[in-house]
Symmetry: C2
Subunit: 503 residues, 2 copies
């Protein structure tokens, strides 16, 4: 018996096999989300790991998950100071009994004093603990040479939570057709942006970074992208990732200035994803924050709407699991800021341990403090080692036929281009796969190395890439690259284009 197209029992009730929520009925915008950083290839890597753990024989002894910027998972040892501080915050009896250094104790006491009921178990203000926001503002002020205001700081659960919140705020309320909000994002991009825009069914405006010129961000390309998009949406914002993810470039000062001027002229809110601000390796290069360049432009830009995001997950801490982050929201209309606070308050607050981790990032031990030498030593070692790996990775790729990689001058990833032979492209197509997914899955099966195919980040049509984080240790990377080279050679040999072919 059928009712409303559903199986109905004789007693008139629907049978237990009918579901309310199905692939057909569920939120269609959730379905259109793509997030390759944790996609099919990564899930396959998880299965291979479990098989290895059960004693399966593979051409490799372990799976190396270079798909995600997860430093500790790849063997980085946590810095000592922040962990001591947070342990004491969590378990205050340690303040009396442990051998932790005086400056760590002092910071833990201060943070506890700033919590409600002297407990990390209390909710904080939705915007975050005030004392920590004050320290974030100090950090920004010192970084930029321009004053930052604690009332503009929001502590967030990683940078992701802040980015998602701002993208939500930017919506027009219309979720179909050309009344939708349009948001400009780089291609290639970090897929949190495309995933969030998909979920909101917002209009994604792609601007392409110039691979031939070190992933340069070209203002002309911004204009092209915006002009083409105007008939299809209400353009609201431009997102920039600096240093770049997955592209590893670092924006020059003048370029940042031009981006700000572009947003000013075109009436766009600027979202600056600056989570890799401590990760700059290129000789003579420097990180310039959008906030600093904005303030350098003087009072004409006082009302410019800029939101900058930072995180404890990257840089030299790599403390992803703590979910610490902040956003600095400047130039936002008071009414909108009020609405932002209200929206955030319904989610109560970000976790206190993540907030404390952020305090350690922005207010580290100072010269003369008991922990200073250790902290500086650990920090320097991490950053120095990342610099070496950045160099090694790009050089290795460039030594391989059919791969071309821009210098990794910032962030934590290489995004090399693979010139996938036509035959391999055809075989991928026959299997219903994207050519770079086809390449990446074979790389995984043959070497145990898990990378993310370029289509997860976006790339110019007909080009193929993958993202590899530079976080595995040199000792892991060197032998792994030998296997990589052998795999790549075999792959290219197997699918080599017929030299007599017309194409």
């Amino acid at each position: 018996m059928i009712r409303n197209g559903k199986q109905v029992n004789l007693n008139g009730k629907c049978s237990s096999s009918s579901k309310v929520l199905t692939g057909e009925t569920m939120n269609p915008y959730v379905k259109q989300i793509q997030y390759a950083v944790r996609g099919a290839i990564v899930q396959r890597a998880g299965i291979l790991e479990k098989e290895l753990a059960k004693g399966a024989i593979k051409p490799y002894e372990k799976v190396t998950k270079a798909n995600i910027g997860d430093a500790h998972a790849l063997g980085m040892v946590p810095l000592t100071f922040p962990r001591q501080v947070i342990a004491m915050c969590v378990c205050p009896e340690l303040l009396e009994t442990s051998n932790f250094p005086a400056d760590a104790k002092a910071k833990a006491r201060r943070i506890l004093n700033e919590t409600k009921g002297h407990s990390m178990g209390a909710y904080t203000d939705s915007q975050g603990i005030e004392g920590i926001r004050i320290n974030v503002a100090k950090y920004i002020s010192e970084r930029d040479g321009h004053k930052a205001d604690p009332s503009t700081i929001f502590l967030t659960g990683g940078a992701s939570q802040g980015i998602k919140g701002i993208l939500k705020l930017l919506q027009t309320g219309v979720n179909t057709g050309n009344g939708r909000a349009g948001v400009m994002i780089p291609i290639p991009q970090y897929p949190l942006y495309s995933a969030t825009l998909s979920e909101l069914n917002s209009y994604q405006i792609n601007y392409y970074l110039d691979e031939a010129n070190g992933w340069r961000l070209d203002i002309g390309e911004l204009k092209r992208a915006l002009n083409e998009a105007r008939p299809h949406c209400v353009p609201r914002a431009l997102c920039v990732i600096n240093p770049g993810n997955p592209t590893g470039q670092v924006l020059p000062y003048e370029n940042i200035q031009d981006i700000i001027k572009f947003c000013h002229e075109e009436e766009l809110v600027l979202l600056a994803d600056e989570v890799y601000q401590a990760n700059v390796y290129g000789e003579g290069l420097e990180f310039h924050s959008f906030k600093k360049v904005l303030r350098d432009l003087g009072p004409d830009y006082d009302n410019f709407e800029l939101i900058s995001f930072h995180s404890t997950s990257k840089g030299f801490l790599g403390e992803c699991g703590f979910r610490g982050g902040y956003m600095e929201v400047v130039g936002m209309e008071e009414e909108v800021k009020f609405q932002l606070k209200k929206m955030i308050s319904a989610s109560l607050c970000s976790c206190t341990t993540g907030q404390a981790m952020m305090d350690c990032l922005v207010s580290p031990p100072q010269p003369g403090d008991e922990s200073y030498d250790t902290f500086l030593n650990e920090k320097t070692k991490v950053l120095q080692s990342l610099k070496e790996r950045a160099k090694l990775v790009a050089e290795t790729f460039n030594s391989m036929d059919g791969i071309q990689c821009n210098e990794v001058v910032g962030a934590m990833y290489a995004f090399p281009q693979v010139f996938i032979p036509r035959k391999a492209q055809e075989e991928a197509k026959a299997r219903g796969m994207h050519p770079d997914s086809f390449y990446a899955i074979q790389l995984l099966e043959k070497t145990g190395l898990c990378v993310v195919p370029g289509n997860g980040f976006g790339q110019r049509d007909g080009t193929f890439h993958f993202r590899l984080t530079i976080l595995p240790s040199i000792d892991t990377l060197k032998p792994l690259f030998e296997h990589f080279k052998a795999f790549h050679q075999d792959f290219m040999d197997k699918y080599r284009d017929d030299p007599n072919s017309s194409l």
Copy 2:
């Protein structure tokens, strides 16, 4: 010079005073969010606190924030065991050096073994650490006498994050008119529900709890609400909060059975907010989980779609700041579950310390373990004291003329009705305030006690309530109630209805 309604400089650029994002242009659905638990009265309480700290003279020495179920903020001492475990997870050197008990050390070692790279700083799987999900499933299995499956468990940042995610999944993609998803929520409700539905512009279907009968949930009322809503939306789900927030009732077994049958017949997904499952005080009353009652109904209901939410923030831990939570997702179509996982993966993972806190909640010390006696003693004391306070609070309110309060048999709040005199209602109206907001703000100014007015939770038209958490200590509550009584008496005297009035 004006262009597109905006001030333009002589050089043709828009003046710096024009904003892209304004109260007019921003996401209108964010604007319609209401979240009184952290609303205007709470903000006023924060200002009063700061004034007191600066030495201002008030009729009270401190502000008591009874607006939110935040146990530690109100003086609860954290339980020892979970804090020791998490401190060692954060700072593994403590495993070697501290005097922490063996079972706490064993748990910390186990959790670290389950993280990537043996570090709390690594991202976890988006669904949460597998070993912790296995422990959650064990806890549910033992609680219900029916097997739970770790693959159905999702660790979340508090219960809120899970609830928001599921409500998002339930959307139809249409965000205006009668194609919108309809979600049934109790009135009074915890405002996370209404706030999230506002943000999604989903259709809110109100069903009223029966105040005259201890806030009973009546199936006839569910039917009325659903039938009235059908022309306006696509009904998708029913939310139930048990034990009730803000209403403090505990649902009887048969009632839960009827609710499940109702959803089965009406083809609704059931969302069970069970974060107060450990908070049952009424004599002879018992918490029955929806999952248990569902499985007791037998194989006819095997495919029933139920999502149950739990949290480390309530119960006897009260560890709100750690943002630990889980949801158990049963009967969900595989395709939808896949989409849910993908959606969650774009936010990476919930914080590791919150996940570890959840492990301590679901897998506490057992008889014979070194920490068992202390743990049991601390837990019993917390729950016993809450029971006393629940009784004291309701009795005190019922001793006051013009206030009537149902027994608080569960959760952490009283939600008494105040019979606000007509004159006071008129004065509130003249000031543009809701009558119970008018009452609550005066209560705050006169006594320092911060409660949330009933309109923030919803109530039958013409009735007025407020929510007060029972979390302040007895020593705080007793003198506070003396001030409350005096305030209430003055308020009633001042606005007493003229006995000769016709109404």
